[in-house]
Homo-oligomer: 141 residues x 2
DNA sequence: CTTGCGCCTTAGAATCATTCCAATTTGTTG
DNA sequence: CAACAAATTGGAATGATTCTAAGGCGCAAG
């Protein structure tokens, strides 16, 4: 598995923008997230990354994920108590949590929806981000 | 602090409906949530409940909260990794998380908003609940 | 180049929230 | 009252994450 040039570049650019370095660990962690977008936990990322970097430590995986979140290349998602999950989808989207399978699906949002939702906020509330989480089941169950 | 009759009744009714008992611990835990609606953690509930029931254990607080959530008298809320918070507000509402103060505010939602939001779901997705979380700052900061 | 400095990584210890467990206690029912 | 189930309790155990201290690595200044 090798990182594609544009992603590597995007990563390097974002990192250096914050005075950070593009290390092999960070690149592989980011690439793992891009490769399989199933909202993995830090442990799952750790397992996948070890295939490429067998000596990486779990602490480093946590560090890298945190760094990617800071750079806004990745979103951290928490539904219901349990390990944080990571999502490299930067488009505006909601999450659908299937209670049967435990899987999480991205739901793309039409333009303007988030603004419309935000318009319910009273005067004086200034939202920087909006998160929408659905829970339920999908037809395939 | 004594639980008001209607709340005690609502509680007892919901509990017995599920074949459960209305114990002093459950009543006090529920009442603590109703009294100060600041989305406390289990630890915070524990501290407050101890004023009335000094010998209650933390495990019992967790048990009671879990029971109340089962009965749908209370909602468990998880933003960003960290202890679960509890909310006795049953009306449809969103949460606004103030990043300065760390406080969480309830935002009442106009009728139909949740349905409108749910309408973005593709065929085959059946949402049982929708959660909306805003993050940002409020004018008072 | 080579030295120094700050960013990174690492392993393991520490922490925090929560759950589990086994032993009472309490409430209800026959 | 006796027996059984539901609840509570304290403490141990678990799981996820964060902290800490000790090296490594890359690069800018001399």
């Amino acid at each position: 598995m090798s990182i594609s040039p544009q992603n590597a570049d995007a990563l390097a650019e974002r990192l250096s923008h914050s005075g950070l370095r593009a290390t092999p660990q960070r690149e592989v962690v980011y690439n793992v997230l891009l490769k399989k977008r199933d909202h993995p936990t830090a442990d799952e990322v750790f397992a996948r990354v070890k295939n490429e970097l067998p000596t990486i430590s779990l602490a480093t995986v946590y560090n890298c994920l945190e760094t990617l979140v800071q750079c806004e290349l990745v979103r951290a998602v928490n539904f219901e108590r349990g390990p944080t999950r990571y999502c490299p989808n930067l488009r505006p989207h909601a999450h659908f949590h299937d209670e049967h399978t435990g899987k999480t699906h991205d739901i793309d949002l039409p333009p303007g929806l988030l603004e419309k939702v935000s318009s319910v906020l009273p005067q004086g509330y200034d939202a920087k981000s909006v998160e929408i989480i659905f829970r339920g089941k999908t037809a395939s169950n």
